[in-house]
């Protein structure tokens, strides 16, 4: 974009004047405001942002949003197919199930029984829980009026646990492991990339060789090896952190490259030279002058790095080498769908995959928009 175009006000302002804002001039607008204007034009990125925000809200309020206790098993309803909520003028209801014993395959199968109906309501009283482990409550966003009535909106699994509730609880682990993993890679990446780019010389060469080395190794075999080394006696929390550390061991290289590149180009800028001549310390030059000017790029790179971590966790847990069952994550849930027989019997076991795709697509679109917006002068 040429300099003249860059100075012209973004055309969003021309046909969509925002009433609340007092027409700020593009010349005096801050960097973040310019970024927001530019980001706003990217429709898909906006949609992605809303989806991601919604997913994190789901993660925060999982206990309230889930209609059931995710661990509550029910022998009476194993592999129950998904129900549909029927709405009529007086309220809503779901049909019950009738079980048929298949004498040939020696198992019970459930089909939706249109003769029994269970009314459903908003803010239903159901299983007791503690919101964030603190506030004891028993209100769920949606649930059957009679707490003992069966409601499986996305079906149930092998042990009769509600898939929808499990997916909602899984959001917590799956979405946070992306954040924690990327936070760790960020620390490593910014530190080593910054050192590499700012000081250069032989230190730079060594760090670059290490990055090239790490990138040349196929990640999944490496992760599998490291994950298999985790002691089986570790608690779920320890395994969770160990897995994020393993995932960020490779993840930092990408971020380090971005940071190094920015440092290399900024090092020669006049304002850095000016700060140096002013007698600022190196730490001050880095933190006060250089980091703010590429912060937006880093944020965009982070957004694009999160889906990679989510996908890796899903793959590892799916193989049974990542998080282990008392923990609920999308990958752990997909483990149930590992063989064809259970998938053919209960295709709704694949539903957690839908959540993965939604999260990864949303983050990709959001990251794409942020990357375009990161350089408002570009």
């Amino acid at each position: 974009m040429s300099a003249r175009q860059a100075l012209a006000p973004p055309d969003v302002l021309v046909h969509e004047p925002v009433a609340a804002e007092p027409e700020p001039s593009v010349v005096v607008a801050s960097q973040w405001r310019l970024m927001w204007w530019r980001f706003r034009k990217h429709r898909l990125a906006l949609v992605g942002g809303v989806v991601i925000l919604a997913l994190y809200l789901v993660a925060i309020f999982a206990e309230f949003l889930a209609p059931n206790d995710p661990e509550a098993t029910s022998v009476a309803y194993t592999y129950a197919p998904p129900q549909v909520v029927h709405v009529y003028s007086g309220g809503a209801y779901v049909f019950g199930y009738k079980s048929v014993v298949d004498t040939e395959a020696l198992r019970r199968t459930f089909t939706v029984d249109e003769n029994t109906a269970f009314p459903v309501q908003w803010f239903a009283q159901g299983a007791r829980y503690k919101l964030w482990g603190l506030i004891p409550l028993n209100v769920h966003l949606i649930g059957p009026v009679d707490p003992s009535a069966p409601m499986y909106l996305l079906g149930s699994d092998r042990l009769g646990r509600d898939m929808l509730s499990r997916i909602i609880y899984g959001t917590r682990v799956s979405m946070s492991i992306g954040l924690v993993g990327v936070a760790m890679s960020l620390v490593l990446g910014v530190l080593l990339g910054g050192i590499s780019g700012y000081f250069g010389g032989s230190l730079d060469t060594v760090i670059q060789r290490v990055i090239e080395f790490l990138r040349s190794i196929p990640t999944i075999p490496l992760w599998l090896g490291l994950a298999a080394a985790l002691p089986a006696s570790w608690s779920p929390l320890q395994v969770y952190f160990a897995i994020t550390v393993i995932l960020s061991l490779i993840g930092w290289t990408g971020l380090a490259r971005v940071v190094r590149g920015r440092f290399l180009s900024l090092r020669e800028e006049d304002f850095v030279m000016a700060a140096r001549l002013d007698g600022s310390s190196q730490l001050r030059i880095i933190l006060r002058h250089m980091v703010p000017s590429f912060l937006s790029h880093i944020i965009a790179s982070i957004t694009l790095a999160i889906p990679a971590v989510i996908l890796s966790e899903t793959a590892l847990s799916f193989l049974g080498l990542g998080l282990r069952p008392p923990v609920i994550s999308w990958g752990v849930l997909l483990q149930e769908a590992q063989n064809v027989r259970s998938v053919a019997l209960a295709p709704w076991l694949l539903a957690p995959g839908g959540a993965v795709v939604l999260a990864v697509l949303g983050l990709n679109f959001l990251g794409d928009g942020l990357r375009d917006a990161a350089d408002p002068y570009g």
Binding site: F213, P221, V356
Partner: protein, 328 residues
């Protein structure tokens, strides 16, 4: 050029040594060794094994020695005799177990790479030339979807569809009647019939990002003055396209081989488990679960080394194709 190749090959040596040390460290990291998992496995089945025979086994496999002694033994065995050690679980030399599977993995990776290139090239050129057409939108959307859906999920869905609606299994690389058959035209044909499924599944996510790169690069080139000049001189549109801008835009294809190979091998590992392919992935996971360390270590070592060689080849190819890249 010769000097460049020689230097790169020399640089590979410390990398491979580093890989072997790292692999061995990972093998050592696992708590306990194969014998402890063997003993606990037997105990859970109600059998017991005398301490004397445990000690005898430990002695035989050299499991009690210091790590660096074990490492040196392992590496010198590989380098000097091509001996990768003994697989505890299969009770056979590792080298007799891995080559078949490595062969299929290489075949699958090369096939996937070819598919990725052809697909990404065709779709990338189409989306750039017909920008903002319905085809472009549909293909771009599919590319994003390919990025977002993990390969093993596509494999699962495919398994479900084929089992449910076509009543046949898509797993494996051979039909049951060919698994044990000697190699022949029939077996190769059967292999090809099965091979395309994992190739498409693994290739899709790779192709998706390449399509985006190809499209963006070609769009940059399409509006350059030399294209206008060629068009003004009356060159036919498709010849013009392939002769100039596409040649410029095709560079990332070659330069990405290096880092797409590790991703291919990784993607293959997970998809192969779902589709139960006779490649390295499933055996690696099993070896890791049963702490069959020489088998697991050899796989990690070989896969990583192959990737390094692939990267080297792509560097050489790039230097040879694009004279602007300096040999330094």
């Amino acid at each position: 050029m010769a000097g460049f190749v020689a230097r790169r090959v020399l640089l590979m040596v410390p990398t491979v040594i580093a890989i072997s040390v790292m692999t061995f460290t990972i093998m050592q990291l696992a708590p306990g060794d194969f014998l402890t998992s063997l003993v606990s496995g037997m105990a859970s089945q109600g059998e017991s094994i005398s301490q004397a025979s445990i000690d005898a086994l430990r002695q035989r496999y050299g499991l009690g020695e210091a790590p660096h002694v074990q490492y040196l033994k392992w590496v010198s065995g590989i380098v000097l005799r091509g001996d990768f050690g003994q697989s505890f679980e299969w009770n056979r030399p590792v080298s007799s177990l891995i080559w078949d599977r490595m062969g299929f993995t290489i075949l699958l990776s090369l096939g996937t790479l070819t598919f990725t290139w052809v697909f990404a090239f065709a779709v990338g050129v189409y989306s750039a030339v017909r920008r903002y057409s319905i085809g472009d939108y549909v293909l771009s959307f599919l590319a994003f979807l390919g990025l977002a859906i993990p390969g093993f999920l596509i494999a699962l869905v495919l398994l479900y569809i084929s089992a449910r609606f076509f009543n046949q299994s898509v797993g494996g690389l051979f039909s049951p009647e060919y698994v044990e058959a000697p190699w022949g035209v029939g077996k190769i044909g059967d292999l090809l019939q099965h091979l395309w499924i994992p190739i498409v599944i693994i290739g899709l996510s790779q192709a998706a990002s390449l399509v985006r790169i190809m499209r963006a690069n070609l769009l940059d080139e399409l509006h350059k003055p030399y294209v206008v000049t060629a068009r003004a001189k009356g060159l036919a549109e498709h010849r013009l396209l392939l002769k100039y801008p596409v040649r410029m835009a095709v560079n990332p294809f070659v330069s990405t081989v290096g880092w797409s190979l590790p991703a291919l091998v990784s993607g293959e590992a997970v998809v192969a488990i779902v589709l139960s392919l006779p490649t390295t992935g499933p055996l690696l996971v099993r070896a890791l679960q049963s702490k069959d360390m020489y088998l697991a270590g050899s796989f990690i070592l070989l896969l990583s080394t192959l990737t390094v060689i692939g990267t080297l080849l792509s560097d050489i190819m790039l230097a040879w194709l694009d004279p602007r890249i300096r040999y330094q």
